[in-house]
Amino acid sequence: MPEIELYLLITLMIVGALVAVHTRYLISAVISLAVVGMALAVAFLYMQAPDIAITQIVVEVLALVILIIAVSIGKEVVDIKGKRETLTIGVTALFVVIFALFAYRALADLPPFGSPLMTVSQHYVEEGLKQTGSANLVTSILLDFRAYDTLGEATILFTAILGAFAVLRKIGRKAK
């Protein structure tokens, strides 16, 4: 059973996400998204995962700065009214019901919180330091056992940055 602090953090995250969806101002939406990210970082710390917590908090701060700059370019929020609004709410409610049904069926088979099934990862825990010589187990998995995943992640980041350069280029842009 997870502790009460974790429930509080999860409630804070849900409230932040709801505010981000419902607020009329883009800047408030961005800041409430940052609340979600910060609460997630604290939750990671609480569950004793400092590697993930450091990454989460640092990326969250930088993403907040970049999103604020992007938001301040200034676009108005468009409202959906009338018949289309009803349709949207209906489709969303249907999707939520179906998702909750499948999620309940899938999550019922999971082991209880805090007691993981150590079948594959137990090998890494036992052999990590011996085989790689890295005292930080997370790094030894990221850069030795699962280095292909890290390569893929680096490729994704590289491609995303290339795309941003291509969209926001200065050379070859048509003058208005």
Partner: protein, 148 residues
């Protein structure tokens, strides 16, 4: 954005940004010993440059680190990572073979090529994210019509 922020912010930023950079380098170099690694360390270094850009304006930040230099940093980091991975084949093994000696655990120079990989990833992430940030700022100035 062009002229930066007030004197208070500038003084604090001048005081704090070197410390943030040193902390980022520490996170990268000790990635195999303590929590952290190439990715968070790189983002921390990028955030130090972002702090300089926001507080002093883009001209001062441009003197410190140009957009093209940041972009080159990213490519060099990615190349370091790939070359280290390929050297595993050269040394008679497979892709991503940890070919360097493991060394004594809990020392700074240990764990084979993992610290070098961390340095490569740190360069790549730091350079890339700061380059995207600079590009966004330049684009915004361009949209407003006050860019060069």
């Amino acid at each position: 954005m062009k002229n930066g922020m007030t004197l208070i912010v500038r003084v604090i930023a001048r005081f704090v940004s070197p410390m943030i950079m040193v902390f980022g380098i520490y996170i990268i170099l000790h990635g195999h010993l303590s929590p952290g690694g190439g990715f968070p360390g790189g983002v921390i270094i990028a955030s130090a440059f972002v702090l300089i850009t926001l507080s002093f304006g883009k001209e001062i930040a441009y003197q410190k680190l140009k957009e093209s230099t940041a972009s080159a940093m990213e490519s060099v980091g990615a190349l370091i990572f790939l070359i280290l991975a390929t050297l595993g084949i050269v040394f008679g093994g497979w892709f991503f073979l940890n070919f360097l000696p493991k060394g004594e655990p809990l020392r700074l120079i240990s764990a084979g090529f993992i610290p070098l990989c961390n340095i490569g990833i740190g360069l790549k992430v730091g350079g890339g994210i700061f380059a995207v940030f600079l590009t966004l700022i330049l684009f915004r100035l361009l949209e407003k019509g006050e860019g060069d």
